[in-house]
Symmetry: C2
Subunit: 206 residues, 2 copies
Amino acid sequence: MRPSSLQKREAALLAAERQFLSTGYESVTMDSIAKECGVAKQTLYSHFGSKRALFLELVTAKTVATRRAVPSPPALDSAGDPRPLLRALLIAQLTTVMSPSVLSLRRLVIGELTRSPELAAALYEQGPRRAIVKLAELIAELRDAGALRIDDPERAASQLNWLVMGEPVNRAMLLGDTAIPSAPEIEAQVDSALEVFFAAFGTGGD
Amino acid sequence: MRPSSLQKREAALLAAERQFLSTGYESVTMDSIAKECGVAKQTLYSHFGSKRALFLELVTAKTVATRRAVPSPPALDSAGDPRPLLRALLIAQLTTVMSPSVLSLRRLVIGELTRSPELAAALYEQGPRRAIVKLAELIAELRDAGALRIDDPERAASQLNWLVMGEPVNRAMLLGDTAIPSAPEIEAQVDSALEVFFAAFGTGGD
DNA sequence: TCGTTTCTGGACTGATGAGTCTTGTTCTCC
DNA sequence: GGAGAACAAGACTCATCAGTCCAGAAACGA
């Protein structure tokens, strides 16, 4: 294995990512990928075997990379105000989801659902499912610390998650990247969701 | 215009709908549509002009048809319990959205976003946007009747909408039609959303 | 029944794109 | 410096598909 071989491989994945994410599977050609990353078409085939295989590898890698980009919930520091913790986590999650490349990946995978249900299932597990599980863990801790009045943390996590994500994700899916909210808008979205959440589940003040 | 001509046209749209919704735009051929509806390819072209035009007409018609399938909120009958009204409307909306053909349409349009942003924008307006506006109207009435404590009915409507729709829509987008909830599950989903909503915005009892 | 319009069936064109093959070149390691 | 692997460049095969063309059959209106 030549060292330059790996570089070419990375360059190919990068070009493939850009093209697949921006125009979908069908309308991308192996020639255009080869041209963009300055590599012979044959090299693509010797590295990945087929267009489909390249696509699968790309999407899988991107899915995993995105999962890693979402931070874990912060440790619970004694009995401080629970809201800032939830607020920070939700802002981080929403900001990650609202990035153009994550949105494109989501659109791409949804469009390919019939052809590659495994990709979509993986994205579901690594994305929203995982986010909600993380959220549920934090919510359960807060409940145990007496800061929330909640029966089913998992359900509450899902509700809070979609209270935050529903509108922005739906808009971005159908209206494109111009509908991506700014940082202050993201904060406002999280804050108004938390108002509802704490009005429903909060114990003490506010 | 021959009467049989219209029938052929309808048959063509039906076959096109089935095929486009189940496998996406690119992988459908004019030959396969012609074959399925028992019509010569030339007839398709004389009716619709091109594959793209057929697709656009199909999706537009289907979008409008779906909008019409969602019932309007019922009239406010004096000062009864507000919950059954919201409950009935939300169940109807969620049930409509959770039908296989509506879900497929949504997936299809999302996958074609780069190629046809107008279609996606139209779906957004006729679908979620419209549902939320309807919901906001009802919520505003309930607020005026003293049943809810709410500043911004439109925002509250969006929150309630995604409290109900978020989880099921996301699952159906990524996990396919096997993730469609049953009727009792739909009711349970609406009920648990309404619990949160009324805990946050309700005035009196409960 | 006659003339017109519409449909059929299938052949045809032209373009495109996945995947292969060939020839020669450039690395890397020994 | 030489052997073998990985690469470049591009020609080539083969299949598919949108859209056209045409000759004949069928349906319609008057």
